[in-house]
Amino acid sequence: MSDVLPYERMLQECLVGELRLLNAHLPCQQKLLSDLLGEEYPHVMCNDGSSHLFKKKELGYLASLIQTDEQEALLLPMLIEIDPGQDEMAVICRGKLEQEVISKVLGMPVTVRRNRAAIYKPQLAVLRKTLKTTTQYLFSSNILTQFAKEAHPPK
């Protein structure tokens, strides 16, 4: 047996950093498409203090997909939830508007269950290619709460 504790400690610190990184880029708040269209430099602030810039072209494309009154209901960036270990991802949909936008972008109908529209990796690639800055990854909170429970079990 050899003393591998320093290595283990270093690796654990590294992993803690990884977990911190996961959702650090999430926006503090989502903004309405209509508001973003009016801004000169459309952006949102992230949890880690950085800013996330939206491309005007993408906003224009999204605006062309929906009616003018619907632009006041679409919140951006849209969040793509990832549950580790599962093949499918989910786009968080608050209403029918998000569902409509996603199905128009993908060119196929999407079903929404429990406010989540399930998509698979090939569709994810298409969605991210078209909506690079208006979508954002979100690592499911389930896994993080489970992780916290296991890391600090109740005494």
């Binding site: 050899s2 591998v4 690796l11 990884e18 650090a24 952006h43 005007k56 990832i82 990854y137 896994i143």
Partner: protein, 210 residues
Amino acid sequence: MPQQLIKVRPTKIELIRLRRRLSLAKRIQKIVKDRLSIMTVEFMNLAREAVEAKRKLLTDFSEAYKALSIAAGYHGYIALEKELIASERKLEIVTGSRSVAGARIPSFELRQPERPMPEYDLADTSSWVDRATQLFRECLEASVELAEVQRGLELLGREISRTKRIVNALEYVTIPRLQGTIKYLNMKFEERDREEKSRLKRVKVLLEQR
């Protein structure tokens, strides 16, 4: 290569702790692997975009230079240069960043008016110059797009290799080491049980002999 074991006291508490650490390590491995797969998907997307952007840039530049040479042939180099020197314009590029599963990559956007008025004298120039200007404007857009994609590729590639190292460390070092230590402790406990049993048997035999 002999497997290294973690130096722990052979107690049940340590075994429980190790088991907890193993399940934690497996869970983290899942998360990091998922992050890696997402970054790989994004990297492939970016690589495809880079190829397209490069092809577009080359086509745009070749067309633009053709148009410029026609315009130069029509007006003459000196006259064309005189017109174009006065038409310099500042470029407005909006820069920002976006995050792809924790990796920050830059985002550039060239801001141009939708129908820009040319700064040169329209009365003294022909439509050849207009065409060349229009094509070079497209070249600028393509260059900015390519710059964004290439820088993104570089940064994402670096992040992927870093994450891959973590996944490998977990898969080939940490998890096997934890599993090995748990196995070693289990064997030790079984050995202890067997020793205990044989000791009891021996005691029983001695008591019967009395």
